[in-house]
Amino acid sequence: MRKADETRFREFARETAQQLRRSAYLLCGDWHLADDLTQAALIKMYRAWPRITRTERPVSYARRTLVRCWLDERRRPWRRAERRDGQLPEEVPGGPDPATAAQHGDLRAELFDALSRIAPRQRAVLVLRFFESLSVAEAAEALGCSEGTVKSQTARGLAALKVVLGPEAAPAALRRNGE
């Protein structure tokens, strides 16, 4: 790769790694795996970087690659029968006070339990639409599917979340974070 391209890639990786990792975490529910998925996606991007910068928007490509890495991970045969153990990642030393952290931990457990129960593509759509704030068209581009599929998956994902969380409990549980 030319030096100029590598410099651009380095800047891109620095700028996007954290956001990619957050999305990865929301997909997989594990910060360590989120690190791995982010690295895997960026390494794939490095290999194709000159082409990506000529033909695509790198951020869109990164999102698509990340989702693909995660779906690939999910498809590994020994993962299929795997069940989540519900364990939350370790908190950051020096992070929020214990009471707040405990409350967030409860909420994250509830949310991830709900997310882990819906189909992976629906989860990906919810993360892209409501965390990454992508439009329907952008989410369709990231997932490599039609806008109609994004719309239907969004509706199904929200309905599935509502079923898992419960129609009354869901808003309260999710809103408590903003209080």
């Binding site: 380095r10 957050r22 020994w78 299929r80 599917c145 809103r175």
Partner: protein
């Protein structure tokens, strides 16, 4: 539950994220090394591919003695005099999907029909590929769960559970639409072996340690049309709770017969 509730919940979920634990510089170094290694290996192996792979690698990779019937992979031409006595792991990277492949998208209804056809086929094809099996049960083809398919899903998978010599195990069969399959070598493991078929397709064989004494024996057929069919054997029963077996009860040749079966695939 509103969309705003979901937005708030997702944002709150990452509030206490750990410090980013990887260094972009190290990542670039690792990526650069991978690119160099792939180029070097591809260059070193290119000269031997044409004469060695089709003639020698296929039967040996699949564990079949030269001159014997290779099963579903087809008859290999006789080795040329310039062929090495043992196969060289010549191919270490494959551009994937092949150039010109257009991703194929199926509806859920189409996938269900195709899944049912493959399930029926496997009921007869599996005992033919793995002689001696009993109590064969082919699960419904699906995605994240047996029978679960969605519009646009690029793959179908299933387990074939069976008994062999008194032990229970299963074979995982996954079929990927053109352009939707895994990248070659991404899951193959260190001992990955590659064979090139006469039609230009590739068979990859690899063994993966799954932990706690459990192993997976994987065979992928990366087809010329960009589709992929995977057959995986286990030394345990991934569909049940039986004991871990000393060895994977199916052989690479048997898995290759399934992976290369033209009646499996989407």
């Amino acid at each position: 539950m509103s969309e705003q509730d979901v937005r708030d919940g997702l944002r709150a979920a990452v509030l206490t994220e750990p410090v980013l634990s990887f260094d972009p510089e190290a990542l670039i170094l690792r990526a650069r090394q991978q690119v160099r290694r792939r180029r070097a290996l591809a260059g070193a192996g290119a000269a031997t591919i044409a004469v060695a792979v089709a003639a020698v690698a296929v039967p040996t990779v699949l564990g079949t003695p030269r001159g014997s019937d290779g099963g579903a992979v087809g008859a290999a031409p006789p080795p040329s005099q310039t062929s090495p006595p043992h196969p060289t792991p010549a191919i270490t990277t494959l551009p994937w999907p092949p150039a010109g492949v257009t991703p194929v998208s199926y509806t859920a209804d189409q996938l269900k029909v195709r899944g049912a056809e493959m399930r029926d086929h496997l009921r007869a094809a599996f005992p033919a590929a793995v002689p001696g099996v009993a109590q064969v049960a082919v699960q419904e083809f699906g995605g994240e769960a047996s029978g679960a398919v969605e519009d646009g899903q690029g793959y179908l998978n299933s387990f074939v559970a069976f008994s062999l010599d008194g032990s229970r195990s299963a074979v995982y069969v996954a079929t990927f639409a053109p352009g939707a399959g895994p990248e070659p070598f991404s899951e193959c493991g260190d001992g990955c072996k590659v064979a090139t078929m006469p039609d230009g397709s590739h068979v990859l064989t690899g063994k993966l340690f799954a932990g706690e004494g459990q192993w997976l024996l994987n065979v992928w057929h990366f087809r010329a049309n960009g589709a992929v069919v995977q057959a995986t054997g286990y030394n345990y029963d991934p569909t049940g709770a039986g004991p871990t077996l000393p060895v994977v009860p199916v052989t690479p040749e048997q898995l290759a017969a399934l992976a290369t079966d033209p009646k499996l695939g989407i």
